[in-house]
């Protein structure tokens, strides 16, 4: 093989490797569910918090150990939070007697606006106020709505960015409940 032929073969090899690498990266990236965002907290114990509910009573996450907890960050000014609200209420009504708790964490909002929205939307699950965003920062929040699903051992099992899908959330909770029964 001549020098020129060898150089051409080498160049072709480099191009093939680069194109293949880009193709693999794209195929992996495009198959991922954009709402199921990675988080360094997944698999770790969920950061604990004690926050005031809208009626002023304290609420501590760690007291719910042994139950599946859905922690939803929301605000009254967030339109996507309004979109997902029925799915969360539906989940709460369906699973509250099966050891599942839904908790709304009100983010960068006023108490009056939050109370007003909760009353109008008929939210019956506990809602707490994260007035200094300390809890949001502990959960690595990048925007709202954002939801974390915590298993019975207190570990974060899933992080959902954007409005929750009722079917996906139900499937997730069912799999966690059935895993707990085994």
């Amino acid at each position: 093989m001549s020098y020129v032929t060898r150089r051409r073969a080498l160049l072709l090899g480099v191009v093939v490797v680069v194109v293949s690498a880009v193709a693999v990266l794209l195929s992996v990236g495009l198959r991922r569910d954009p709402s199921a965002a990675p988080s360094p907290l997944i698999g770790r114990i969920a950061p604990d918090f004690t926050l005031s509910q809208l009626d002023g009573k304290p609420f501590t996450l760690s007291t719910l150990r042994g139950q599946v907890v859905v922690v939803n960050f929301w605000a009254s000014w967030c339109t996507e939070c309004h979109t997902e609200q029925p799915a969360l209420s539906q989940t709460w009504q369906r699973f509250q007697d099966s050891g599942v708790v839904v908790v709304g964490v009100n983010f960068q909002d006023t108490t009056d606006d939050a109370i007003d929205y909760v009353r109008k939307a008929g939210v019956s699950y506990p809602v707490v106020e994260d007035s200094d965003s300390r809890t949001a920062l502990a959960y690595g929040l990048r925007g709202i709505p954002e939801t974390f699903v915590i298993d019975r051992t207190g570990r974060i099992a899933a992080r959902i960015i954007g409005p929750v899908d009722a079917t996906k959330l139900t499937n997730q909770i069912n799999s966690m409940l059935s895993a707990g029964e085994q």
């Binding site: 360094p40 950061p47 920062l137 959960y139 690595g140 990048r142």
Partner: protein, 178 residues
């Protein structure tokens, strides 16, 4: 060797010297900038600013926590100040945010794992560029020697000279008008 033969070699050597000088100037500038960054004991506000400048604002695009006017960035700055007052070191504070947000919260990626490529790749590219430049310069230097230079050509032999003169004379006889 004539001036025309030497010129490409001089030009190539000058290019190498210029490249080396530019690299030296860049190195000195970087060193000066790095030295300037280290002052005496910074105040709490300065420390907050320093740490905040190293963190990405999570709800903004391409803004540090120090530069962002977003409420969450302001609350992050407040949290940094509170943690400093509580005795946490800047490294511990950064680690706290990384634990919640991952390495992407850092303005400069860490020098480990896949992120290390950000630091290694430019060095590789610069090294490859240098090798390429040196190869190119060496070729420029070698090329004039390989080509026959008119001034250095071997003188004509007497028989060749006679043959040329004969050919010219024949041409003149064949074309007398010109």
């Amino acid at each position: 060797m004539t001036v025309r033969a030497i010129l490409p070699r001089v030009r190539a050597q000058l290019s190498v010297i210029l490249i080396l000088l530019a690299m030296l100037a860049a190195g000195i500038t970087l060193a000066v900038v790095a030295m300037r960054g280290r002052g005496g004991n910074p105040s709490e506000a300065q420390q907050v600013q320093q740490i905040a400048a190293e963190l990405h604002c999570p709800v903004c695009k391409d803004l540090s926590v120090a530069d962002s006017p977003a409420p969450l960035a302001r609350q992050m700055r407040e949290q940094i100040a509170q943690k400093l007052r509580a005795g946490e070191s800047p490294d511990q504070i950064r680690a706290g945010f990384v634990a919640a947000y991952g390495d992407s919260v850092l303005m400069s990626p860490p020098k480990r794992g896949l992120s290390a490529a950000v630091y290694v790749l430019p060095t590789i590219v610069i090294a490859a560029g240098l090798v390429f430049a040196v190869t190119l310069v060496r070729r420029w230097v070698r090329r004039p020697e390989a080509e026959p230079v008119e001034d250095d050509a071997a003188p004509m032999s007497a028989s060749d000279r006679r043959a040329v003169r004969g050919a010219v004379a024949r041409l003149r006889q064949e074309e007398p008008d010109q």
